[in-house]
């Protein structure tokens, strides 16, 4: 069991965790930033790319197409964000918002967060997944509280309490799920492992599966930021350091939806259990609508994009709830592209806030006129996340809409309203942020190197929107087929 950690999948998890331990001990911040990048790039991402050739289930780890895909995505965003954060924290330090000690904690916590996220994705055991998500939450809370401003502390505390309750409910769900699997698999580790549960789902006790589903959906739904459990997300995004928002927006939400997706297939296999789709769809739709209308009232840029994350998480959850190979294909594609786009947006927004010395909409304006590169990148990101062509999110949202019309035409009304209102709000803010007269600068402008990760992300999203290679389609279809 321990030797499994030395397999490639195990190394993917171990590398960032070891890096975290090293970073906690390294006092030199210039070196620390490079170790951070190296660990995320070489170790996590390069190793994660080997996962598709390492499929298999062990006692501790499970590498299936879904897990491999999510792990590659998470470590890719981790890698680019590590690169971005080198410049970002240097500016923060110069502005006195982070001291040397805070910086050391920041680097160590960044890697710890990444490592535990990857563990949650690759773990074969429900209990270990739970522990990993809990540990990642603690790391994220500590990073959010790092700036030590009153607002950051408040946000961290709210994040902790709300996600703590969510996580507690998820643990209760995990215990009940074990109880449900007992008659099929007997006592011991198999009854808690995904790989053994999936084929035995039909023999599990349906009524207990229902109970477990309710608790796990509420628990992990909190982490996915699904309405009405989303309250922590805007604060955490607005107050924490921006690289964390970029990673948080992608990975923690992905991990939570990943668990919900696995759970969905367990229930779908069991004849006695309730249909898992409708509750997930309701939460997803609620998130889309609530976030779309909330977008209009935001005055804080980072908070605004956090609500946009809630909306996109809702779209993906809605697709997963709809079920069937094509809807899950669309949901997965949406989740993937959103992660890339939102990370790019948060990277631009982070630099824009540093540049303008504030994160209110009134502080930031006319970016294209004053800083062409930053403004254009941010504009491209906003166009992409609004689901407009030529970017890939148009494709995925289109697929979700088509599936909805085909299967449940009534629901297209609320979903359509949510999507249109949300995109409209984004377009309105795009004009305010990027066009018009520039506001005065109060900080350093980003170099081209600092924006490179955002370009990389947006390039991937653009290419997947214009011409999706057949191999990528096959890869997504294989995952969707396995999940369904």
């Amino acid at each position: 069991m321990i030797l499994e950690l030395l397999s490639p999948a195990g190394m993917v998890v171990l590398a960032p965790l070891l890096a975290a331990a090293v970073l906690a001990a390294v006092p030199r911040r210039d070196i620390a930033a490079w170790i951070n990048i190296a660990a995320a790039a070489a170790a996590a991402f390069a190793l994660a790319c080997r996962l598709p050739w390492e499929m298999g289930a062990g006692t501790l780890l499970l590498v299936d197409p879904l897990a491999a895909h999510m792990a590659i995505l998470t470590s890719f965003v981790g890698m680019t964000t590590a690169w971005f954060s080198r410049d970002y924290v240097a500016v923060e330090e110069a502005a006195g918002r982070l001291d040397a000690r805070g910086l050391r904690q920041y680097h160590a916590l960044f890697q710890a967060f990444l490592g535990f996220m990857l563990l949650a994705l690759l773990s074969n055991n429900l209990g270990v997944t739970w522990v990993a998500i809990e540990a990642a939450t603690i790391a994220a809370v500590l990073v959010v509280g790092l700036p030590r401003t009153e607002e950051a502390v408040e946000a961290a505390w709210k994040f902790f309490i709300l996600c703590g309750v969510g996580i507690a409910l998820a643990l209760f769900g995990t215990i009940v799920l074990y109880l449900a699997a007992l008659p099929a698999l007997g006592p011991g580790l198999p009854a808690m492992s995904w790989s053994a549960l999936a084929p035995a789902a039909a023999q599990c006790r349906g009524t207990l599966l229902n109970l477990a589903f309710v608790f796990l959906l509420l628990g992990y739904g909190t982490k996915a930021g699904l309405a009405p459990l989303h309250a922590w997300m805007p604060d955490a995004h607005a107050e924490g350091p921006t690289p964390v928002s970029a990673v948080l927006s992608g990975s923690i939400l992905n991990v939570a939806l990943f668990v919900i997706l696995r759970l969905r297939s367990l229930l779908a296999e069991n004849a006695d259990a309730i249909a898992p789709g409708p509750p997930i769809m309701v939460l997803g739709l609620l998130s889309v609508l609530l976030a779309a209308f909330s977008l209009w009232r935001r005055r804080d840029v980072k908070r605004f994009f956090a609500f946009s994350t809630i909306e996109q998480s809702g779209v993906a959850a809605f697709a997963f709830g709809l079920g069937g190979a094509s809807a899950i294909f669309a949901g997965l594609l949406h989740l993937t592209l959103h992660t890339l786009t939102k990370a790019a947006i948060f990277q631009c927004v982070g630099r824009a806030c540093q540049l303008k010395g504030g994160q209110k909409f009134v502080d930031i304006g006319g970016l294209i006129a004053s800083h062409r590169l930053l403004g254009l990148t941010l504009a491209a990101g906003i166009v992409a996340v609004a689901g407009l062509p030529p970017f890939g999110l148009f494709t995925s949202e289109f697929l979700v809409v088509v599936e909805t019309v085909r299967r449940l035409p009534v629901l297209i009304v609320p979903l359509g309203i949510g999507l249109v209102v949300g995109a409209w709000a984004l377009a309105a803010r795009l004009i305010a942020l990027c066009l018009g007269p520039p506001t005065p600068d109060r900080g350093p402008a980003p170099s081209a190197a600092a924006l490179a990760p955002a370009w990389l992300h947006l390039a991937v999203v653009l290419v997947l929107g214009l011409m999706m290679p057949a191999s990528i389609v096959a890869w997504f279809a294989a995952i969707a087929g396995a999940v369904r």
Binding site: N125, P187, R298
Partner: protein, 226 residues
Amino acid sequence: MEPRITYGAFAYDVAHLLGGGVLALSFVLLYQRRVTAVINTYAMQAVVLAMAAAWQGLVQGAPHLYVTALIALAAKGIAIPLALHRIVRRLDIHRSVETALGIFPSMALGVALVALSILVVLPTTMESQALTREDLALALSVVLLGLLMMITRRTALTQVVGFMSLENGLILAAVGVAGMPLVVELSVAVLVMIAFIVFGVFFFRIRERFDSLDVSHLDRVGGAHR
């Protein structure tokens, strides 16, 4: 389900008594009016939980549950209450508990929540062992009462105690399920989380920053005005 475990009437009664004790102490937590009494009641609940875990270890023949029991006793029964008392003294927190909901309505709601969890758990676990079923019903009641306490108590410290009592319910559920693996690991993970929360109250010095530990002050962040 588990052939090596055969419950005698006595083993069953004691397990039931201890589980019921944890639940009763959740109710006691609900009507405390002083912060120190809340902390002491929590410590008592942790001790009863430790006894319940040890008893389950004995009747299930699962020695690893003794570790869980020891963790509950040492950390939650002794160390954390001491730390909380220290926080109360050092940060000079108001000694009275501010409630958002009166004592009587919260007790009535508590009873309703216990009824709810019995109504939810017992029909869904028809085929399980009687002890597992009732243990799960008790545990769910403790979890819901912990949530109720978090909602109805205003100060951060009492909310933290509510959260920790909720976690006690989770451990009670985990030890009651026969043959559940990773119980010790899970209880350690839960403990780490609790420790961070307690540490958080102290470390973030919520007292200094917001005049009182009243979490309604935190609403400044969440409001629609941003």
